[in-house]
């Protein structure tokens, strides 16, 4: 009986410790993903100019860098450039235009870096718009010339009494009178026709209707051309302003921090007055770089060396350069750029656009290590024309 009881007890104890787990049901989660078509694979059929059209080397300031920044750009000597840029940015109301020492440092850092990004994006968009405008101007100019020729606008003579002052219109009669000069004036282009005005009482004249038609059409076409031309000029001016606004802001920031925040690069758009411009030459299959020279100068702030210097593959300031393609087909270029006060590690995307943008190497989160031990992130960008 005792043995039976013990076996029974042991059996019960065994049953007690046997695990009887249960599995959880597999849950579900709703999923809907759009077709993925965004990444542009790199094309190697195009040839690039070796001349660097434009370049950007900028360090993003941190909260610590801007905490003492006090800058009111709209009240300073560069206010015109700031106003010009802001007036052409449709989200200018979301950008800061004043920086005071009392304001929150993190918010200031956000505002300063926001302006850096806004400037870069504006420059790209403005360049593309200028290309469109130049095409419109060329197209409209050709059409205008055709109009001028087809409508023989020079055949309508202007009989005038006195030659006007410079810039003033000619007051004309459509036929000779006793007071008008013997030799009439002809206007050959619509631009000239802006100065072709009539004295009163010309309605009965034979050429009056034709005059009115040509005058109206020339006014309209000239206004269109002028609008495109004015906009193109504005965009080109503001592109320069956008870059200067950033340099202006970063120079002010360098005055209240201890790191270098921007470098200037001699390029086709912004050449050095006395020295060469920066170049980069790729092999035909974009597997290597045969020449890479950057001529770099710094703002008169925290840089230990001011004045353009050569930083290149050949003198070793550019090193560890490699070109590779990611699994998504993105072409990338890596290298280290050693500058007097910092070393920049670039791992940028190389893209080629069919527009005037051309080719770009862009790293918008490049690593910057300063010689004093501090570290930052920044942007490195170079632009090249496609031949």
């Amino acid at each position: 009986m005792n043995k039976t009881k013990n076996y029974f007890i042991l059996s019960v104890i065994s049953l007690m410790v046997i695990a009887c787990g249960r599995e959880a049901d597999m849950p579900t989660a709703d999923t809907l993903i759009f077709e993925q078509t965004g990444v542009r694979a790199f094309s190697t059929t195009k040839t690039l100019s070796s001349d660097i059209r434009a370049a950007t080397i900028v360090v993003y300031p941190t909260t610590e860098d801007v905490k003492d920044l006090e800058f009111l750009p709209l009240e300073g000597t560069t206010s015109a450039e700031w106003q010009g840029l802001l007036s052409d940015l449709n989200y200018a109301d979301r950008l800061a235009t004043s920086f005071t020492a009392a304001s929150d440092a993190f918010e200031k850092a956000l505002d300063v870096t926001q302006l850096i990004f806004a400037s870069g994006r504006y420059r790209d968009e403005a360049l593309k718009r200028v290309e469109v405008l130049d095409a419109l101007i060329a197209n409209e100019t050709a059409k205008l010339e055709d109009y001028e020729i087809e409508n023989r606008i020079d055949e309508i003579d202007c009989y005038y009494v006195d030659r006007p002052d410079y810039g003033e219109p000619y007051m004309c009669s459509l036929s000779a009178t006793a007071e008008t000069r013997s030799r009439p004036k002809a206007f050959y282009t619509c631009e000239d026709w802006a100065r072709f005005e009539l004295v009163s009482g010309q309605e009965p004249e034979t050429n009056y209707t034709r005059y009115t038609e040509i005058k109206t059409e020339c006014d309209k076409r000239s206004k269109d051309l002028l609008a495109y031309s004015d906009e193109s000029t504005l965009k080109k001016t503001n592109r320069v302003s956008a870059e200067n606004v950033v340099l202006d802001l970063l120079l002010e920031t360098e005055l209240v921090t201890n790191v270098v925040l921007a470098a200037k690069v001699a390029t086709q758009e912004k050449p050095d007055d006395i020295g060469p411009e920066s170049v980069i030459t790729f092999s035909s299959d974009f597997s290597s770089v045969t020449e890479f020279k950057l001529y770099v100068d710094f703002l008169p702030g925290n840089a230990t060396k001011v004045g353009y210097g050569e930083y290149s593959l050949s003198n070793g300031a550019i090193k560890n350069l490699s070109l590779y393609t990611t699994s998504a087909g993105i072409k990338k270029m890596k290298f280290t750029l050693v500058l007097p006060d910092m070393t920049i590690d670039v791992d940028g995307d190389l893209t080629i656009d069919d527009s005037v943008i051309g080719a770009r190497l862009v790293d918008s989160q490049t690593f910057v290590k300063f010689n004093n031990g501090e570290e930052r992130r920044g942007v490195f960008k170079i632009e090249l024309d496609v031949l």
């Binding site: 989660a29 993003y60 926001q114 850096i116």
Partner: protein, 414 residues
């Protein structure tokens, strides 16, 4: 084998394993073991977790925190550095969008089944004092599903266009990847382990209980209890966004009073009041970046933590006749808010850890079973055993799991 008294006892191991409130699985009793009598019992608990009561008392899916809209604001909030936030804000401004504009919704759901086997060994040291030791073993199975419902396709295309326009092809790839698996990408970025189905078998927090019967009469009995819960279980892994913990890595001290009123020899009304103090400690914690999300890359390995103390009140009735047992009970539990502090990050961020830690639970318990003590005395059964099955339904609560609890209690006296 020692003589077994007719009155069996169940060693109360308490309703809370560790840290948070759990549905109770034991009925209150003031009974203690007679001197020299030993009791070995095993409680088998089956708990599922798919729904919970949130802080407002509303029922939500357990995976509710995994479901959130993906807006410009939330993407900016997830970035730490000013330049990172500005980069996103600039694209938003360039596209003429606002911070609340959404790319879609991250979706997710979690189902958990936990089975606890709790062997309990108790011994009557004197006729009034009983000591017990409970060693829970927690077996858990967690299943996870993650997804994303992308919305506003034109915004996606505009965003891709803007990134391509700036020459940032890598950013396009990153954007598409993050919006295809937002939770997985974010967890990876923050240094969490991959969220996946997980099975575990772990020892929980071991509990030592002392019960002293200070009043016994024909109609009434009262017992005081003191217990210590040791941090032998494992707290949630700080590198897992969702983890079933078998313990909370800290020590608890509990006191309670149990009262029985013997209405008739068959019917007893019992009640208990208990208090468990969770002692403060330091613990690695993920410190939230924002108030609305617990996911964060920042860890403070020395976070000062004081888990909220717990109170419980139970009232139950048990009917026993010739080995058959039926019972019903009601319990009400509360837990005060946890407190966190530390020196690594701003105090506001530690305060966010405290959100949704105040708990409340009302539950209804039903139990039925039989014991062989009556038959054992008549020598009609080889051993004195007791088997009870219980069901606990969570009626209402705040920040507690809603799912019911099932338990099997097997007792052997010797």
């Amino acid at each position: 084998m020692k003589k077994i008294l007719a009155s069996a006892m169940v060693l109360l191991v308490g309703s809370a394993f560790a840290g948070d409130l759990k549905a109770p699985f034991a009925f209150p009793t003031s009974r203690v073991l007679p001197k020299g009598v030993r009791n070995l019992s095993t409680k088998g608990l089956l708990a599922t977790a798919s729904e919970k009561f949130n802080g407002n008392g509303d029922v939500v899916a357990l995976g509710d925190p995994l479901n959130s809209t993906i807006t410009f604001q939330k993407v900016m909030d997830s970035k730490k550095e000013a330049w990172e936030k500005s980069a996103i804000e600039n694209v938003m401004n360039y596209l003429g969008k606002n911070s609340g504009d959404s790319f879609g919704t991250a979706t997710g759901n979690v189902n958990v089944v936990a089975t606890a086997r709790v062997p309990v060994f108790a011994i009557g040291l004197t006729k009034k004092l009983t000591l017990g030791l409970a060693v829970p073993v927690i077996k858990s199975d967690m299943k996870v599903a993650l997804g994303v419902v992308q919305e506003n396709e034109s915004l996606h295309q505009e965003m891709i266009g803007a990134l391509n326009a700036s020459g940032a092809s890598s950013k396009v790839e990153e954007f598409m990847s993050k919006l295809s698996a937002p939770v997985a990408e974010k967890l990876n970025e923050y240094g969490y382990n991959e969220l996946k189905n997980t099975q575990k078998d772990e020892i929980g927090d071991i509990k030592v209980v002392a019960k002293y019967n200070f009043v016994t009469s024909e109609k009434f009995s009262a017992t005081g209890q003191f217990d210590v819960t040791a941090p032998t279980g494992k707290d949630q892994d700080v590198n897992k966004i969702v983890d079933v913990a078998s313990g909370d890595d800290q020590t608890d001290l509990g006191i309670g009073v149990f009262v029985d009123y013997f209405v008739t020899p068959e019917f007893t009304v019992s009640g208990t009041i208990g208090y468990t103090g969770q002692l403060p400690d330091t613990n690695p914690e993920r410190i939230p970046e924002v108030s609305y999300s617990k996911a964060t890359p920042d860890i403070d390995y020395n976070t000062k933590r004081d888990l909220g103390d717990m109170t419980n009140v139970q009232l139950a009735g048990m009917w026993s006749y010739k080995g058959f047992n039926l019972g019903a009970g009601y319990s009400y539990q509360t837990k005060s808010k946890d407190r966190y502090s530390g020196g690594e990050f701003s105090s506001e961020r530690y305060d966010w850890l405290e959100q949704d830690t105040k708990q409340k639970m009302e539950a209804l318990q039903l139990t039925a079973g039989l014991d062989t003590i009556y038959l054992f005395k008549k020598k009609a059964f080889p051993a004195p055993l007791r088997v009870m099955v219980s069901y606990t339904n969570v009626l209402s609560g705040e920040n507690v799991v809603k799912d019911p609890l099932y338990s099997v209690d097997l007792n052997l006296f010797f």
